[in-house]
Symmetry: C2
Subunit: 307 residues, 2 copies
Protein backbone atom coordinates (compact mmCIF):
# COMPACT_ATOMS: atom_id res chain seq x y z
CA UNK A 1 0.00 0.00 0.00
CA UNK A 2 1.37 3.38 -0.93
CA UNK A 3 -0.40 6.02 1.08
CA UNK A 4 -0.90 9.37 -0.70
CA UNK A 5 1.11 12.32 0.59
CA UNK A 6 -0.32 15.72 1.51
CA UNK A 7 2.34 18.43 2.05
CA UNK A 8 1.46 21.57 4.01
CA UNK A 9 3.86 24.41 3.25
CA UNK A 10 5.74 24.47 -0.06
CA UNK A 11 8.96 26.29 0.77
CA UNK A 12 12.38 24.81 0.07
CA UNK A 13 11.73 21.65 2.10
CA UNK A 14 8.01 21.13 1.49
CA UNK A 15 8.32 22.07 -2.16
CA UNK A 16 11.18 19.63 -2.68
CA UNK A 17 9.27 16.93 -0.83
CA UNK A 18 6.17 17.33 -3.04
CA UNK A 19 8.34 17.16 -6.17
CA UNK A 20 10.33 14.14 -4.94
CA UNK A 21 7.24 12.15 -3.87
CA UNK A 22 5.37 12.98 -7.10
CA UNK A 23 8.35 12.14 -9.30
CA UNK A 24 8.68 8.81 -7.47
CA UNK A 25 5.12 7.94 -8.49
CA UNK A 26 3.35 8.68 -5.21
CA UNK A 27 -0.08 10.33 -5.34
CA UNK A 28 0.85 13.68 -3.76
CA UNK A 29 -0.56 17.17 -3.44
CA UNK A 30 0.35 20.25 -1.48
CA UNK A 31 -0.88 23.45 0.08
CA UNK A 32 0.83 26.80 0.30
CA UNK A 33 -0.54 29.99 1.83
CA UNK A 34 0.39 31.99 -1.25
CA UNK A 35 0.15 30.41 -4.72
CA UNK A 36 3.44 28.94 -5.99
CA UNK A 37 4.71 29.69 -9.45
CA UNK A 38 5.53 28.08 -11.71
CA UNK A 39 3.64 25.06 -10.38
CA UNK A 40 5.33 22.97 -13.11
CA UNK A 41 2.42 20.52 -13.21
CA UNK A 42 2.56 19.65 -9.50
CA UNK A 43 -0.78 19.41 -7.69
CA UNK A 44 -0.85 22.52 -5.48
CA UNK A 45 -3.55 24.58 -3.80
CA UNK A 46 -3.82 27.59 -1.53
CA UNK A 47 -7.05 26.36 0.10
CA UNK A 48 -6.02 24.71 3.38
CA UNK A 49 -9.43 23.27 4.45
CA UNK A 50 -10.03 21.75 1.01
CA UNK A 51 -6.49 20.32 0.91
CA UNK A 52 -6.98 18.71 4.32
CA UNK A 53 -10.47 17.34 3.56
CA UNK A 54 -8.97 15.69 0.50
CA UNK A 55 -6.27 14.18 2.77
CA UNK A 56 -8.93 12.87 5.15
CA UNK A 57 -10.93 11.32 2.28
CA UNK A 58 -7.83 9.63 0.83
CA UNK A 59 -6.36 8.58 4.20
CA UNK A 60 -3.17 10.43 3.21
CA UNK A 61 0.02 10.94 5.21
CA UNK A 62 0.00 14.64 6.13
CA UNK A 63 3.41 16.33 6.22
CA UNK A 64 3.67 19.67 8.05
CA UNK A 65 6.50 21.57 6.37
CA UNK A 66 5.91 25.12 7.61
CA UNK A 67 8.41 27.02 9.79
CA UNK A 68 8.15 26.56 13.55
CA UNK A 69 6.65 30.05 13.87
CA UNK A 70 3.70 29.08 11.61
CA UNK A 71 3.05 25.72 13.26
CA UNK A 72 0.08 26.48 15.56
CA UNK A 73 -2.57 27.57 13.01
CA UNK A 74 -1.63 24.73 10.65
CA UNK A 75 -1.98 22.13 13.41
CA UNK A 76 -5.32 23.67 14.38
CA UNK A 77 -6.51 23.20 10.81
CA UNK A 78 -5.31 19.58 10.75
CA UNK A 79 -7.19 18.94 14.00
CA UNK A 80 -10.34 20.41 12.46
CA UNK A 81 -10.27 18.87 8.97
CA UNK A 82 -8.09 15.74 9.06
CA UNK A 83 -7.72 14.66 12.70
CA UNK A 84 -7.54 10.94 11.84
CA UNK A 85 -4.70 11.15 9.28
CA UNK A 86 -1.21 9.83 9.80
CA UNK A 87 0.89 12.91 10.54
CA UNK A 88 4.55 13.87 10.29
CA UNK A 89 6.54 17.08 9.89
CA UNK A 90 9.79 18.45 8.52
CA UNK A 91 10.67 21.01 11.19
CA UNK A 92 14.31 21.14 12.35
CA UNK A 93 13.46 20.57 16.03
CA UNK A 94 11.46 17.63 17.35
CA UNK A 95 10.46 17.84 21.04
CA UNK A 96 8.72 21.25 20.77
CA UNK A 97 6.80 20.10 17.68
CA UNK A 98 5.72 16.88 19.44
CA UNK A 99 4.47 18.99 22.36
CA UNK A 100 2.45 21.26 20.03
CA UNK A 101 1.02 18.21 18.23
CA UNK A 102 -0.09 16.74 21.57
CA UNK A 103 -1.71 20.07 22.54
CA UNK A 104 -3.85 19.81 19.42
CA UNK A 105 -4.87 16.24 20.27
CA UNK A 106 -2.99 14.80 17.29
CA UNK A 107 -0.35 12.69 19.06
CA UNK A 108 -1.85 9.24 18.37
CA UNK A 109 -0.90 9.06 14.69
CA UNK A 110 2.08 11.49 14.72
CA UNK A 111 5.69 10.48 14.02
CA UNK A 112 8.07 13.43 13.73
CA UNK A 113 10.64 13.78 10.98
CA UNK A 114 13.58 16.01 10.06
CA UNK A 115 15.05 15.85 6.57
CA UNK A 116 18.57 17.25 7.08
CA UNK A 117 19.03 18.99 3.76
CA UNK A 118 19.11 22.60 2.74
CA UNK A 119 20.72 25.17 0.54
CA UNK A 120 21.53 28.82 1.02
CA UNK A 121 18.26 29.63 -0.75
CA UNK A 122 14.65 29.29 0.31
CA UNK A 123 11.14 29.15 -1.14
CA UNK A 124 9.34 26.98 -3.71
CA UNK A 125 11.51 28.18 -6.59
CA UNK A 126 14.67 26.97 -4.82
CA UNK A 127 13.25 23.45 -4.34
CA UNK A 128 14.32 20.34 -6.20
CA UNK A 129 13.19 16.71 -6.39
CA UNK A 130 16.80 15.70 -5.64
CA UNK A 131 17.33 17.85 -2.53
CA UNK A 132 17.16 14.86 -0.16
CA UNK A 133 19.36 12.49 -2.14
CA UNK A 134 21.87 10.91 0.26
CA UNK A 135 20.79 13.20 3.09
CA UNK A 136 19.97 11.99 6.58
CA UNK A 137 16.25 12.08 7.46
CA UNK A 138 15.69 11.66 11.17
CA UNK A 139 12.47 9.82 12.03
CA UNK A 140 11.44 10.07 15.67
CA UNK A 141 11.38 6.75 17.56
CA UNK A 142 10.00 7.58 20.99
CA UNK A 143 8.14 4.89 22.90
CA UNK A 144 4.41 4.83 22.24
CA UNK A 145 4.59 5.88 18.57
CA UNK A 146 2.41 4.07 16.02
CA UNK A 147 4.72 1.66 14.18
CA UNK A 148 2.54 1.64 11.06
CA UNK A 149 2.86 5.41 10.77
CA UNK A 150 6.58 5.05 11.50
CA UNK A 151 6.92 2.77 8.48
CA UNK A 152 4.97 5.24 6.30
CA UNK A 153 7.17 8.15 7.31
CA UNK A 154 10.38 6.16 6.85
CA UNK A 155 9.22 4.98 3.43
CA UNK A 156 8.51 8.56 2.38
CA UNK A 157 12.06 9.50 3.38
CA UNK A 158 13.49 6.58 1.40
CA UNK A 159 11.33 7.38 -1.64
CA UNK A 160 12.76 10.91 -1.55
CA UNK A 161 16.31 9.46 -1.76
CA UNK A 162 17.30 10.03 1.86
CA UNK A 163 18.48 7.49 4.44
CA UNK A 164 16.62 7.15 7.73
CA UNK A 165 18.26 7.83 11.11
CA UNK A 166 15.96 6.87 14.02
CA UNK A 167 16.26 8.83 17.28
CA UNK A 168 14.11 10.00 20.14
CA UNK A 169 12.92 13.59 19.92
CA UNK A 170 15.21 14.57 22.80
CA UNK A 171 18.25 12.79 21.34
CA UNK A 172 17.63 14.48 17.99
CA UNK A 173 17.33 17.94 19.52
CA UNK A 174 20.51 17.51 21.57
CA UNK A 175 22.42 16.21 18.54
CA UNK A 176 21.41 19.02 16.17
CA UNK A 177 22.07 21.62 18.87
CA UNK A 178 25.70 20.43 18.97
CA UNK A 179 26.34 19.80 15.26
CA UNK A 180 24.14 22.38 13.58
CA UNK A 181 22.95 25.18 15.87
CA UNK A 182 26.08 25.65 18.00
CA UNK A 183 28.30 25.93 14.87
CA UNK A 184 26.14 28.84 13.73
CA UNK A 185 26.47 30.62 17.09
CA UNK A 186 30.26 30.07 17.19
CA UNK A 187 30.63 31.23 13.60
CA UNK A 188 28.78 34.45 14.47
CA UNK A 189 30.92 35.06 17.56
CA UNK A 190 34.18 34.31 15.72
CA UNK A 191 33.22 36.63 12.86
CA UNK A 192 32.43 39.42 15.34
CA UNK A 193 35.75 39.01 17.21
CA UNK A 194 37.64 38.99 13.90
CA UNK A 195 35.72 42.08 12.78
CA UNK A 196 36.88 43.86 15.96
CA UNK A 197 40.40 43.47 14.54
CA UNK A 198 39.45 45.80 11.70
CA UNK A 199 40.70 45.75 8.12
CA UNK A 200 44.17 44.54 9.16
CA UNK A 201 42.81 41.37 10.76
CA UNK A 202 40.33 40.72 7.95
CA UNK A 203 43.04 41.26 5.33
CA UNK A 204 45.19 38.58 7.01
CA UNK A 205 42.29 36.11 7.39
CA UNK A 206 43.17 32.74 5.92
CA UNK A 207 41.54 29.32 5.78
CA UNK A 208 40.89 28.81 9.47
CA UNK A 209 38.90 32.04 9.82
CA UNK A 210 37.09 31.62 6.50
CA UNK A 211 36.08 28.04 7.35
CA UNK A 212 35.09 28.94 10.89
CA UNK A 213 32.86 31.85 9.85
CA UNK A 214 31.41 30.48 6.60
CA UNK A 215 27.88 29.85 7.93
CA UNK A 216 27.76 33.35 9.43
CA UNK A 217 26.96 34.43 5.86
CA UNK A 218 23.59 32.60 6.04
CA UNK A 219 20.49 34.82 6.14
CA UNK A 220 20.30 35.96 9.79
CA UNK A 221 16.53 35.45 10.15
CA UNK A 222 16.88 31.78 9.13
CA UNK A 223 19.72 31.17 11.60
CA UNK A 224 17.87 32.93 14.37
CA UNK A 225 14.60 31.01 13.83
CA UNK A 226 16.42 27.66 13.64
CA UNK A 227 18.53 28.24 16.77
CA UNK A 228 15.78 29.80 18.88
CA UNK A 229 13.37 26.93 18.11
CA UNK A 230 15.83 24.54 19.76
CA UNK A 231 16.40 26.81 22.75
CA UNK A 232 16.54 24.24 25.52
CA UNK A 233 19.08 21.88 23.88
CA UNK A 234 21.09 24.77 22.48
CA UNK A 235 21.37 26.27 25.97
CA UNK A 236 22.85 22.96 27.17
CA UNK A 237 25.34 22.97 24.29
CA UNK A 238 26.26 26.59 25.05
CA UNK A 239 26.86 25.72 28.72
CA UNK A 240 29.18 22.89 27.69
CA UNK A 241 30.97 25.23 25.28
CA UNK A 242 31.36 28.00 27.87
CA UNK A 243 32.78 25.52 30.38
CA UNK A 244 35.31 24.15 27.89
CA UNK A 245 36.29 27.60 26.64
CA UNK A 246 36.68 28.93 30.18
CA UNK A 247 38.89 25.95 31.01
CA UNK A 248 41.00 26.69 27.92
CA UNK A 249 41.36 30.34 28.93
CA UNK A 250 42.26 29.43 32.53
CA UNK A 251 44.79 26.84 31.41
CA UNK A 252 46.44 29.24 28.96
CA UNK A 253 46.48 32.07 31.51
CA UNK A 254 47.60 30.08 34.57
CA UNK A 255 49.74 27.31 33.04
CA UNK A 256 50.57 28.68 29.57
CA UNK A 257 49.20 25.57 27.90
CA UNK A 258 46.29 24.63 25.63
CA UNK A 259 47.33 20.99 25.53
CA UNK A 260 44.15 19.33 26.79
CA UNK A 261 41.83 21.58 24.75
CA UNK A 262 43.70 20.96 21.51
CA UNK A 263 44.06 17.22 22.17
CA UNK A 264 40.34 16.73 22.96
CA UNK A 265 39.33 18.60 19.82
CA UNK A 266 41.74 16.64 17.65
CA UNK A 267 40.47 13.31 18.98
CA UNK A 268 36.84 14.27 18.41
CA UNK A 269 37.48 15.51 14.89
CA UNK A 270 39.29 12.27 13.98
CA UNK A 271 36.22 10.35 15.21
CA UNK A 272 34.14 12.31 12.71
CA UNK A 273 36.53 11.50 9.87
CA UNK A 274 36.71 7.83 10.81
CA UNK A 275 33.03 7.34 11.62
CA UNK A 276 31.82 3.91 10.63
CA UNK A 277 28.18 3.98 9.49
CA UNK A 278 26.19 0.76 9.78
CA UNK A 279 23.82 0.52 6.80
CA UNK A 280 20.67 -1.45 7.46
CA UNK A 281 18.37 -2.60 4.65
CA UNK A 282 15.67 -4.18 6.76
CA UNK A 283 14.34 -3.58 10.25
CA UNK A 284 11.94 -5.56 12.39
CA UNK A 285 9.07 -3.22 13.20
CA UNK A 286 7.19 -5.72 15.36
CA UNK A 287 7.19 -6.46 19.07
CA UNK A 288 7.44 -4.28 22.16
CA UNK A 289 11.19 -3.60 21.66
CA UNK A 290 10.92 -2.30 18.08
CA UNK A 291 11.25 1.40 18.94
CA UNK A 292 14.09 0.79 21.40
CA UNK A 293 15.93 -1.22 18.70
CA UNK A 294 15.47 1.69 16.30
CA UNK A 295 16.83 4.21 18.80
CA UNK A 296 19.83 1.97 19.50
CA UNK A 297 20.54 1.79 15.77
CA UNK A 298 20.61 5.59 15.48
CA UNK A 299 22.63 5.98 18.67
CA UNK A 300 25.34 3.77 17.17
CA UNK A 301 25.58 5.84 13.99
CA UNK A 302 23.41 3.46 11.97
CA UNK A 303 21.11 4.33 9.08
CA UNK A 304 18.34 2.59 7.18
CA UNK A 305 18.72 2.40 3.39
CA UNK A 306 15.71 0.20 2.59
CA UNK A 307 12.65 -1.18 4.37
CA UNK B 1 72.12 45.82 -4.37
CA UNK B 2 70.68 42.38 -3.70
CA UNK B 3 71.82 41.25 -0.30
CA UNK B 4 72.46 37.50 0.04
CA UNK B 5 70.04 35.53 2.19
CA UNK B 6 70.98 33.16 5.00
CA UNK B 7 68.10 30.99 6.26
CA UNK B 8 68.32 29.35 9.69
CA UNK B 9 65.98 26.39 9.98
CA UNK B 10 64.82 24.54 6.86
CA UNK B 11 61.39 23.24 7.77
CA UNK B 12 58.31 23.98 5.68
CA UNK B 13 58.70 27.77 5.89
CA UNK B 14 62.51 28.09 5.94
CA UNK B 15 62.92 25.38 3.30
CA UNK B 16 60.42 27.06 1.01
CA UNK B 17 62.07 30.43 1.58
CA UNK B 18 65.53 29.10 0.62
CA UNK B 19 64.09 27.54 -2.54
CA UNK B 20 62.09 30.66 -3.50
CA UNK B 21 65.01 33.06 -2.95
CA UNK B 22 67.47 30.80 -4.79
CA UNK B 23 65.08 30.23 -7.70
CA UNK B 24 64.58 34.01 -7.96
CA UNK B 25 68.36 34.43 -8.45
CA UNK B 26 69.31 35.56 -4.97
CA UNK B 27 72.58 34.24 -3.49
CA UNK B 28 71.11 32.13 -0.68
CA UNK B 29 72.18 29.38 1.68
CA UNK B 30 70.69 27.70 4.68
CA UNK B 31 71.34 25.83 7.89
CA UNK B 32 69.37 22.99 9.40
CA UNK B 33 70.19 21.11 12.62
CA UNK B 34 69.78 17.76 10.86
CA UNK B 35 70.88 17.35 7.22
CA UNK B 36 68.05 17.79 4.71
CA UNK B 37 67.49 15.29 1.92
CA UNK B 38 67.27 15.48 -0.97
CA UNK B 39 69.05 18.85 -0.97
CA UNK B 40 68.12 19.15 -4.68
CA UNK B 41 71.12 21.36 -5.38
CA UNK B 42 70.26 23.99 -2.77
CA UNK B 43 73.14 25.31 -0.65
CA UNK B 44 72.55 23.76 2.77
CA UNK B 45 74.67 23.01 5.82
CA UNK B 46 74.22 21.61 9.30
CA UNK B 47 77.12 23.67 10.73
CA UNK B 48 75.53 26.72 12.40
CA UNK B 49 78.72 28.70 13.29
CA UNK B 50 80.14 28.25 9.79
CA UNK B 51 76.81 29.24 8.21
CA UNK B 52 76.68 32.40 10.31
CA UNK B 53 80.33 33.36 9.74
CA UNK B 54 79.63 33.13 6.03
CA UNK B 55 76.63 35.45 6.54
CA UNK B 56 78.79 37.94 8.45
CA UNK B 57 81.46 37.88 5.71
CA UNK B 58 78.87 38.43 2.94
CA UNK B 59 76.79 40.99 4.91
CA UNK B 60 73.76 38.73 4.33
CA UNK B 61 70.19 39.14 5.55
CA UNK B 62 69.77 36.46 8.22
CA UNK B 63 66.31 34.87 8.42
CA UNK B 64 65.45 32.93 11.59
CA UNK B 65 62.91 30.29 10.54
CA UNK B 66 62.98 27.94 13.52
CA UNK B 67 59.95 27.29 15.76
CA UNK B 68 59.44 29.63 18.72
CA UNK B 69 60.61 26.88 21.08
CA UNK B 70 64.02 26.70 19.35
CA UNK B 71 64.53 30.45 19.14
CA UNK B 72 66.87 31.15 22.07
CA UNK B 73 69.93 29.04 21.09
CA UNK B 74 69.70 30.23 17.47
CA UNK B 75 69.63 33.89 18.53
CA UNK B 76 72.58 33.24 20.85
CA UNK B 77 74.53 31.86 17.89
CA UNK B 78 73.61 34.87 15.74
CA UNK B 79 74.81 37.20 18.53
CA UNK B 80 78.09 35.30 18.69
CA UNK B 81 78.88 34.81 14.99
CA UNK B 82 76.95 37.43 12.99
CA UNK B 83 75.89 40.21 15.36
CA UNK B 84 76.11 42.95 12.71
CA UNK B 85 73.92 41.32 10.08
CA UNK B 86 70.48 42.52 9.06
CA UNK B 87 68.08 40.16 10.81
CA UNK B 88 64.48 39.00 10.29
CA UNK B 89 62.42 35.95 11.17
CA UNK B 90 59.46 33.90 10.02
CA UNK B 91 57.87 33.05 13.35
CA UNK B 92 54.07 33.33 13.59
CA UNK B 93 54.16 35.76 16.53
CA UNK B 94 56.01 39.06 16.57
CA UNK B 95 56.19 40.84 19.96
CA UNK B 96 57.70 37.86 21.86
CA UNK B 97 60.32 37.37 19.11
CA UNK B 98 61.21 41.06 19.17
CA UNK B 99 61.65 40.83 22.95
CA UNK B 100 63.96 37.82 22.61
CA UNK B 101 65.97 39.55 19.87
CA UNK B 102 66.42 42.57 22.15
CA UNK B 103 67.56 40.33 25.01
CA UNK B 104 70.33 39.05 22.75
CA UNK B 105 71.38 42.61 21.84
CA UNK B 106 70.29 42.20 18.23
CA UNK B 107 67.48 44.79 18.05
CA UNK B 108 69.32 47.47 16.05
CA UNK B 109 69.20 45.66 12.68
CA UNK B 110 66.13 43.46 13.29
CA UNK B 111 62.82 43.77 11.40
CA UNK B 112 60.36 40.96 12.15
CA UNK B 113 58.41 39.11 9.49
CA UNK B 114 55.61 36.59 9.23
CA UNK B 115 54.92 34.84 5.94
CA UNK B 116 51.30 33.69 6.31
CA UNK B 117 51.44 30.49 4.34
CA UNK B 118 51.36 26.87 5.31
CA UNK B 119 50.09 23.46 4.45
CA UNK B 120 48.92 20.54 6.53
CA UNK B 121 52.45 19.10 6.18
CA UNK B 122 55.75 20.15 7.67
CA UNK B 123 59.49 19.68 7.17
CA UNK B 124 61.95 20.33 4.32
CA UNK B 125 60.36 17.70 2.05
CA UNK B 126 56.98 19.48 2.22
CA UNK B 127 58.49 22.82 1.13
CA UNK B 128 58.05 24.48 -2.23
CA UNK B 129 59.43 27.55 -4.00
CA UNK B 130 55.82 28.60 -4.69
CA UNK B 131 54.52 28.33 -1.11
CA UNK B 132 54.37 32.11 -0.64
CA UNK B 133 52.80 33.00 -3.98
CA UNK B 134 49.94 35.47 -3.33
CA UNK B 135 50.26 35.01 0.42
CA UNK B 136 50.38 37.89 2.89
CA UNK B 137 53.81 38.47 4.48
CA UNK B 138 53.59 40.76 7.45
CA UNK B 139 56.68 42.95 7.93
CA UNK B 140 56.90 44.68 11.30
CA UNK B 141 56.74 48.47 11.18
CA UNK B 142 57.33 49.61 14.75
CA UNK B 143 58.90 52.99 15.39
CA UNK B 144 62.69 52.90 15.61
CA UNK B 145 63.22 50.11 13.06
CA UNK B 146 66.01 50.45 10.50
CA UNK B 147 64.32 51.45 7.23
CA UNK B 148 67.11 49.98 5.11
CA UNK B 149 66.60 46.60 6.74
CA UNK B 150 62.85 47.09 6.33
CA UNK B 151 63.32 47.45 2.58
CA UNK B 152 65.52 44.33 2.47
CA UNK B 153 62.95 42.25 4.31
CA UNK B 154 60.04 43.55 2.22
CA UNK B 155 61.99 42.86 -0.98
CA UNK B 156 62.69 39.30 0.14
CA UNK B 157 58.93 38.79 0.68
CA UNK B 158 58.16 40.21 -2.77
CA UNK B 159 60.88 38.09 -4.41
CA UNK B 160 59.20 35.03 -2.86
CA UNK B 161 55.91 35.96 -4.54
CA UNK B 162 54.12 37.29 -1.46
CA UNK B 163 52.60 40.73 -0.87
CA UNK B 164 53.73 42.80 2.10
CA UNK B 165 51.36 43.88 4.87
CA UNK B 166 53.03 46.32 7.32
CA UNK B 167 51.92 46.29 10.96
CA UNK B 168 53.33 46.90 14.41
CA UNK B 169 54.30 43.76 16.32
CA UNK B 170 51.37 44.27 18.71
CA UNK B 171 48.86 44.88 15.94
CA UNK B 172 50.07 41.75 14.16
CA UNK B 173 49.81 39.60 17.27
CA UNK B 174 46.30 40.83 18.06
CA UNK B 175 45.16 40.29 14.47
CA UNK B 176 46.49 36.73 14.15
CA UNK B 177 45.10 35.86 17.58
CA UNK B 178 41.62 36.71 16.28
CA UNK B 179 41.81 35.31 12.75
CA UNK B 180 44.18 32.37 13.13
CA UNK B 181 44.67 31.22 16.73
CA UNK B 182 41.14 31.73 18.07
CA UNK B 183 39.63 29.75 15.13
CA UNK B 184 41.82 26.80 16.16
CA UNK B 185 40.65 26.97 19.78
CA UNK B 186 36.98 27.29 18.78
CA UNK B 187 37.31 24.41 16.31
CA UNK B 188 38.74 22.23 19.08
CA UNK B 189 35.95 23.16 21.51
CA UNK B 190 33.21 22.66 18.89
CA UNK B 191 34.63 19.26 17.91
CA UNK B 192 34.69 18.19 21.56
CA UNK B 193 31.09 19.31 22.19
CA UNK B 194 29.95 17.50 19.04
CA UNK B 195 31.89 14.41 20.12
CA UNK B 196 29.96 14.44 23.41
CA UNK B 197 26.86 13.83 21.27
CA UNK B 198 28.26 10.43 20.32
CA UNK B 199 27.82 8.57 17.04
CA UNK B 200 24.29 9.91 16.53
CA UNK B 201 25.45 13.53 16.54
CA UNK B 202 28.51 12.81 14.40
CA UNK B 203 26.41 10.83 11.92
CA UNK B 204 24.12 13.86 11.47
CA UNK B 205 26.99 16.35 11.14
CA UNK B 206 26.67 18.41 8.00
CA UNK B 207 28.49 21.37 6.48
CA UNK B 208 28.36 23.75 9.41
CA UNK B 209 30.03 21.29 11.80
CA UNK B 210 32.54 20.05 9.21
CA UNK B 211 33.56 23.60 8.30
CA UNK B 212 33.69 24.73 11.92
CA UNK B 213 35.92 21.83 13.02
CA UNK B 214 38.11 21.42 9.94
CA UNK B 215 41.31 22.86 11.47
CA UNK B 216 40.88 20.63 14.54
CA UNK B 217 42.37 17.92 12.30
CA UNK B 218 45.71 19.79 12.24
CA UNK B 219 48.58 18.13 14.13
CA UNK B 220 47.92 19.06 17.78
CA UNK B 221 51.55 19.89 18.63
CA UNK B 222 51.65 22.49 15.83
CA UNK B 223 48.39 24.10 16.95
CA UNK B 224 49.49 24.12 20.55
CA UNK B 225 52.89 25.68 19.82
CA UNK B 226 51.38 28.33 17.56
CA UNK B 227 48.61 29.32 20.01
CA UNK B 228 50.75 29.23 23.14
CA UNK B 229 53.42 31.43 21.56
CA UNK B 230 50.81 34.18 21.17
CA UNK B 231 49.49 33.75 24.69
CA UNK B 232 48.92 37.37 25.65
CA UNK B 233 46.94 38.39 22.55
CA UNK B 234 45.09 35.08 22.42
CA UNK B 235 43.98 35.58 26.02
CA UNK B 236 42.48 38.94 25.01
CA UNK B 237 40.68 37.31 22.08
CA UNK B 238 39.40 34.54 24.37
CA UNK B 239 38.06 37.12 26.84
CA UNK B 240 36.20 38.89 24.04
CA UNK B 241 34.83 35.53 22.85
CA UNK B 242 33.72 34.48 26.34
CA UNK B 243 31.95 37.79 26.84
CA UNK B 244 30.11 37.55 23.53
CA UNK B 245 29.21 33.89 24.04
CA UNK B 246 27.99 34.54 27.59
CA UNK B 247 25.83 37.39 26.27
CA UNK B 248 24.41 35.04 23.63
CA UNK B 249 23.61 32.40 26.27
CA UNK B 250 22.01 34.98 28.58
CA UNK B 251 19.93 36.47 25.79
CA UNK B 252 18.71 33.05 24.63
CA UNK B 253 17.96 31.96 28.20
CA UNK B 254 16.33 35.15 29.46
CA UNK B 255 14.75 36.60 26.31
CA UNK B 256 14.60 33.60 23.96
CA UNK B 257 16.50 35.49 21.27
CA UNK B 258 19.86 35.29 19.53
CA UNK B 259 19.09 38.29 17.35
CA UNK B 260 22.00 40.56 18.21
CA UNK B 261 24.59 37.72 18.18
CA UNK B 262 23.51 36.48 14.77
CA UNK B 263 23.23 39.99 13.31
CA UNK B 264 26.70 41.05 14.53
CA UNK B 265 28.26 37.89 13.08
CA UNK B 266 26.50 38.31 9.77
CA UNK B 267 27.65 41.93 9.44
CA UNK B 268 31.26 41.03 10.24
CA UNK B 269 31.33 38.12 7.81
CA UNK B 270 29.96 40.32 5.00
CA UNK B 271 32.80 42.78 5.70
CA UNK B 272 35.25 39.94 5.07
CA UNK B 273 33.60 39.04 1.77
CA UNK B 274 33.43 42.67 0.65
CA UNK B 275 36.89 43.69 1.86
CA UNK B 276 38.49 46.22 -0.46
CA UNK B 277 42.28 45.77 -0.59
CA UNK B 278 44.36 48.79 -1.56
CA UNK B 279 47.33 47.59 -3.65
CA UNK B 280 50.39 49.78 -3.43
CA UNK B 281 53.31 49.46 -5.84
CA UNK B 282 55.61 52.05 -4.31
CA UNK B 283 56.12 53.40 -0.82
CA UNK B 284 58.12 56.32 0.48
CA UNK B 285 60.63 54.89 2.97
CA UNK B 286 62.14 58.24 3.90
CA UNK B 287 61.41 60.75 6.60
CA UNK B 288 60.34 60.49 10.24
CA UNK B 289 56.77 59.45 9.35
CA UNK B 290 57.71 56.51 7.10
CA UNK B 291 56.95 53.79 9.64
CA UNK B 292 53.69 55.42 10.76
CA UNK B 293 52.61 55.64 7.10
CA UNK B 294 53.38 51.93 6.67
CA UNK B 295 51.35 51.00 9.74
CA UNK B 296 48.41 53.12 8.54
CA UNK B 297 48.54 51.32 5.20
CA UNK B 298 48.27 47.91 6.88
CA UNK B 299 45.60 49.10 9.29
CA UNK B 300 43.42 50.06 6.32
CA UNK B 301 43.73 46.64 4.69
CA UNK B 302 46.42 47.76 2.24
CA UNK B 303 49.23 45.67 0.80
CA UNK B 304 52.46 46.32 -1.07
CA UNK B 305 52.92 44.53 -4.40
CA UNK B 306 56.16 46.15 -5.53
CA UNK B 307 58.86 48.41 -4.09
Amino acid sequence: MTRPVCVLGLGLIGGSLLRAATDAGRPAWGYNRSPVAPADGYDVSSDLPATLRRAADADALVVVAVPMTALQPVLAAVAEHAPGCALTDAVSVKAPVAAAVAQHGLAARYVGGHPMAGTAHSGWAAGSATLFRDAAWVVAADDGLDLDVWRDVAQLALVCGAHVVPASAEEHDRAVAAISHLPHVLAAVLAAVGGEGGELALSLAAGSFRDGTRVAATRPELVQAMCEANRSSLLDALEDTLTRLTNARDSLRDNATLGSTVAAGHTARLRLDELHRTEVTDVDLTGPQALERLRALGRNGGMIRRL
